[in-house]
């Protein structure tokens, strides 16, 4: 019996939620500290897993399995591989950062806020570690409820609308996924995700396979979100409190992409390959449309929200490139692996970069209570630290070499160009637009030009705000200059996944 790392990472947040609710309201400061301290435990455990993961094998490791509902063959089955481990780490990291940030900014209904945040973490980690469809679905749904409350209670002016829209959209996808899961279960008699990938349900019946494929696709595409399922995203991101937006962009969107990688690609490679052209076009539209619409925004938060549609489009491009090449020659395997490696790394990078951007939006919004890009100007003089950090993060987001975003986007394009050249070629235009957008709209309009007197005495970033950003900047630079640790981790699993198709 091994040490139950993954169970602890998943359920310590539950403990945290209960603790937050039980501590009386007068000990609010102590509760915040305890919450941050508790959230560090999963992070430390996740880091230990990263160091101990045997990436040469690339298999599922740290497995735990217990019977849960024997009558219908449901198991509590968890494990991580090179795809899920970085995401588990990212989840724990962003949770610590968000709780730390929130302990300074949240003043109302603090206990509930922290409790919901912990429940959210539990749901997200649970999805990444689950190897049983039933468990996967339960965690998938558990994550929705706290996010609904985080948006609805602590959000902006249109929070009620955004909260229910988010809930209804994602639930629509998940119930269709539930039907697909049930269909697979009654065909194969198991809920095991890995087993299902081996059994390949509906291999002889393409109609049913397509039905199941699109059922799952709906759930994941809404979550990613792929154009045209993205309309919940700008509302949710703009209305959510800062930390909520960080988690939304940083992790919730990854749940969708993770579903594509863990479920659709290994279980339905045939259908995925068959429908790859459609998905490629959707990915392309997400990239181009996301970039152009982001460019047209004057609300800083909305701009970043749409840039997420664009960035997640790169992830989908990598995925779909890999899927398009299924069953073709052996030579293409390298490009497939490159595209998928890029996609997985892009998931991690987008988490730290866009998470960081949303935090930085929070920083300026807390001070000025506006996000209107037309209203700023010249802040580079009065807020030099903020200027520096924002510039670095924007550059990482637009894919400047030397920072993390470049590596993953480069890999995706490199892989995709040799498999689906026309799509990849058009998609690259998205990079140009985002570069223009970040340089012109964000950096130039906020920091350069004549100082807007109205904001002349805005204070610069405080120490705790810099501390919040520091770990994110660290990973942006580290994986920009030396991506080996994360690429090794991802590559082993990706190669194994591709060779199994």
């Amino acid at each position: 019996m091994e040490f139950p790392y993954l169970t602890l990472i998943t359920f310590i947040p539950l403990l945290g939620a209960v603790a937050c609710l039980l501590i009386p309201r007068k000990y609010e400061r102590e509760m915040k500290r305890l919450a941050v301290a508790l959230s560090l435990i999963p992070l430390v455990l996740a880091a230990i897993l990263w160091l101990n993961y045997d990436y040469t094998a690339g298999t599922m490791q740290f497995l735990e399995e217990y019977a849960w509902i024997p009558t219908i063959n449901v198991h509590y089955r968890v494990g991580v591989d090179g795809i899920s481990l970085p995401l588990v780490f990212l989840t724990s990291l962003l949770t610590v950062i968000c709780l730390f940030y929130s302990s300074y900014t949240i003043k109302e209904r603090v206990k509930e806020y922290f409790a919901f945040f912990f429940l959210l973490e539990m749901g997200m980690v649970g999805v990444f570690v689950s190897l049983d469809f039933f468990l996967f679905y339960v965690f998938w749904e558990i994550g929705l409820v706290p996010m609904y409350f985080l948006i609805g209670v602590w959000g902006g002016p249109r929070r009620q609308y955004a909260a229910i829209k988010f809930f209804l959209y994602t639930l629509t996808g998940s119930v269709l996924m539930l039907l697909a899961i049930l269909g697979m279960y009654f065909a194969e008699g198991t809920f095991g995700i890995l087993e299902m990938a081996r059994l390949r349900p509906f291999a002889d019946n393409f109609t049913l396979q397509s039905l199941a494929f699109w059922g799952l696709f709906a759930a994941f595409a809404i979550k990613v979100p792929l154009w045209p399922f993205h309309t919940w995203l700008p509302d949710a991101h703009v209305e959510a409190p800062t930390a909520g937006s960080v988690i939304l962009a940083g992790i919730l969107l990854k749940l969708g992409a993770y579903g594509f990688l863990r479920i659709l690609l290994p279980i339905f490679p045939q259908a995925f390959h068959h429908y790859a052209p459609i998905i490629a076009i959707l990915a392309l539209l997400s990239i181009v449309y996301g970039a152009l619409v982001a460019m047209a925004q004057w609300d800083l938060k909305k701009l970043i929200a749409y840039s997420s549609v664009n960035h997640m489009g790169y992830v989908m491009l990598g995925l779909v490139a890999a899927a398009s090449a299924i069953g073709t020659s052996e030579k293409i395997l390298d490009s497939q692996a490159m595209a998928l490696n890029g996609a997985v790394m892009q998931m991690f990078n987008h988490g730290i970069i866009t998470g960081g951007l949303f935090l930085l939006v929070g920083v300026i919004y807390e001070r000025s209570h506006t996000r209107d890009l037309k209203g700023f100007g010249g802040l580079g003089v009065t807020m030099p630290v903020y200027y520096g950090i924002m510039t670095a993060t924007c550059l990482a987001s637009l894919g400047l070499p030397g920072l993390a975003g470049f590596i993953s986007e480069f890999l995706v394009f490199q892989g995709a160009l040799s498999i689906i050249p026309p799509v990849a070629a058009i998609a690259i235009s998205g990079v140009v637009v985002t570069a223009a957008m970040f340089l012109w709209k964000v950096i130039q309009l906020i920091f350069l030009g004549p100082l807007n007197e109205k904001w002349a005495d805005l204070p610069d970033m405080q120490r705790w705000e810099v501390i919040t950003m520091a770990p994110l900047l660290f990973f942006m630079v580290l994986f920009g200059l030396y991506p080996t640790p994360i690429l090794n981790l991802i590559n082993g699993t990706v190669v194994k996944l591709l060779s199994g198709l």
């Binding site: 849960w68 339960v138 929705l144 929070r159 009620q160 229910i164 629509t172 039907l179």
Partner: protein, 489 residues
């Protein structure tokens, strides 16, 4: 004979306690509220007796009643429902009527009627216990004589009930005319193996089925026999609305399943077609109308109509290999805790504020955190979000539809899940009010202890069913075994 009586001991226990409560009420004027605890004691005893008997089989009174696990399952459900309803009535009824002894007595009698209905295996017995359930419920709905709404609800309920049961009786007489028997097992044989081709009368069976369905449909409020539901729920004392939404409905399903699966397997294709259509219409109608409600009792009434539509999906997907009936049983148990819990919370709220308007729930999380949190759990369960019992029920019911493996059933399942999304909208509209909006009146609400207990039990059970469903699934699976499910011919 003595052994027969032993098999009847749950019914006997309930009958004795009902009479005891009525007698004590007559003899001692001051006992009124203590009688509630006597009644709860009776219900608990009945549950214990039922649990001890679980697994035994028998047929009583020359085939009028059967004793099997399926019947036991519904007896437990009826007793649980009554126990929780009495618990939530104590504080509520105390301030509203002086006639509380009879109230608890009647509730026990209604429970007795449901337990009889659960075991009825002869059309005559079914009709009699059906009327027994109805008559006790009519009185309970109109119990608050001073309240015109309560009387209105009672009258409507009675008129609808009287008409539909007459129609049902006509259906029963047709079935008797065709087969020459009122015993379900004999009817089944007569239909499966007609004595001569002339004796096979499919053209008469269909009207018989539809007429009987009017009676069953009234009890479980299927569209188009549902119109009484919102008025009766709104007018009835809230604990009775809670009872109506669970007890008689469970009984209605018990008898529907028993009649259709035991007596009419020869015509399964026909009744499956009818019930599929009704299921679709019922869930969609219930959900769409529930969206517009401003009174929480009426909203829950329409929501309960929608829930019945989902349950019916399980009946439709009944086959020898499928989880259909297991799903129905699990769904009903989960629905018992969830819906009763939601109603108990409504009882608590209307007891303290005198309001049933959804708008008045604004800011409840500040005024009564436990109540609001419990309602969130109940609404999650009603919408089918894990980890709750409601999810488990839907998982099995929709699973059974998928398991049937035919296009029609896939379609039914898709409509079912899309309906869950519609329902989420109005359930979480209440959550939105409770948690996102400020209260008009910030005073915190002191909930009576009996109601706290009832809410806590139902909330805990709703969650336990979602987190540790294995024992419940085993129980339901064992209960299904005693009811023969044949494959469609």
């Amino acid at each position: 004979m003595l052994e027969d009586l032993a098999l009847l001991s749950p019914e006997i226990t309930l009958a004795i306690f009902a009479l005891l409560v009525l007698g004590l009420d007559l003899a001692f004027k001051r006992l009124k509220d203590a009688l509630a605890y006597v009644a709860i004691g009776g219900v608990i005893l009945a549950i214990v007796v039922t649990a001890l008997l679980f697994g035994t089989q028998g047929s009583l009174f020359s085939g009028m009643l059967v004793v099997d696990s399926f019947a036991f399952y519904f007896k437990i459900i009826a007793c649980l429902a009554t126990g929780l309803v009495i618990l939530s009535s104590i504080a509520f009824m105390k301030e509203r009527t002086p006639y509380r002894g009879e109230f608890y007595g009647l509730l026990l009698l209604a429970t007795l009627a449901i337990t009889l209905l659960a075991g009825a295996s002869d059309l005559v017995m079914i009709y009699l216990s059906f009327e027994f359930v109805s008559l006790t419920c009519y009185v309970l709905v109109g119990y608050l004589r001073g309240d015109p709404k309560s009387s209105e609800g009672g009258i409507k309920y009675f008129l609808y009930g009287a008409v539909t049961s007459a129609v049902m009786l006509y259906g029963i007489s047709l079935l008797y005319g065709i087969t020459g028997s009122t015993n379900l097992a004999e009817i089944r044989n007569a239909l499966l193996f007609p004595a001569s081709p002339a004796a096979s009368t499919p053209w008469l069976i269909l009207p018989a089925v539809i007429f009987m369905l009017a009676g069953f449909g009234f009890k479980i409020s299927l569209v188009p026999f549902h119109q009484w539901t919102p008025d009766a729920y709104e007018g009835a004392p809230t604990p009775i609305a809670a009872f109506l939404s669970v007890g008689p409905k469970a009984a209605g399903f018990a008898v529907l399943i028993r009649v259709f699966l035991t007596a009419l397997p020869a015509y399964q294709i026909d009744w499956v077609a009818i019930l599929s259509g009704i299921s679709l219409v019922t869930m969609t109608f219930g959900n769409l109308v529930a969206i517009q409600q401003t009174n929480i009792k009426r909203m829950l009434a329409y929501s309960s109509i929608a829930q019945v539509g989902y349950i019916l999906l399980g009946v439709v997907a009944a086959g020898p290999e499928t989880y259909g009936i297991t799903g129905v049983l699990l769904f009903i148990l989960a629905y018992l805790f969830t819906n009763l819990g939601a109603f108990v919370a409504v009882v608590a709220f209307s007891h303290l504020t005198g309001s049933d308007e959804i708008a008045d729930y604004a800011g409840l999380i500040r005024r009564a955190p436990l109540l609001a949190a419990a309602l969130v759990v109940f609404f999650m369960s009603l919408a089918g979000i894990p980890p709750t019992g409601g999810f488990l029920g839907k998982f099995f019911v929709f699973g059974a539809a998928i398991q049937m493996g035919q296009k029609v059933f896939y379609f039914l399942a898709v409509v079912g899940v899309l309906n869950s999304i519609i329902s989420l909208y109005y359930y979480f509209n209440v959550v939105r009010l409770m948690c996102f909006l400020p209260a008009k009146d910030e005073t915190s609400l002191q909930i009576p202890r009996s109601l706290v207990l009832a809410v806590t039990i139902t909330m805990a059970m709703t969650l336990v069913m979602g987190l540790h469903p294995q024992p419940f699934i085993e129980l339901a699976t064992r209960s299904v075994l005693s009811i023969a499910v044949l494959s469609p011919l």
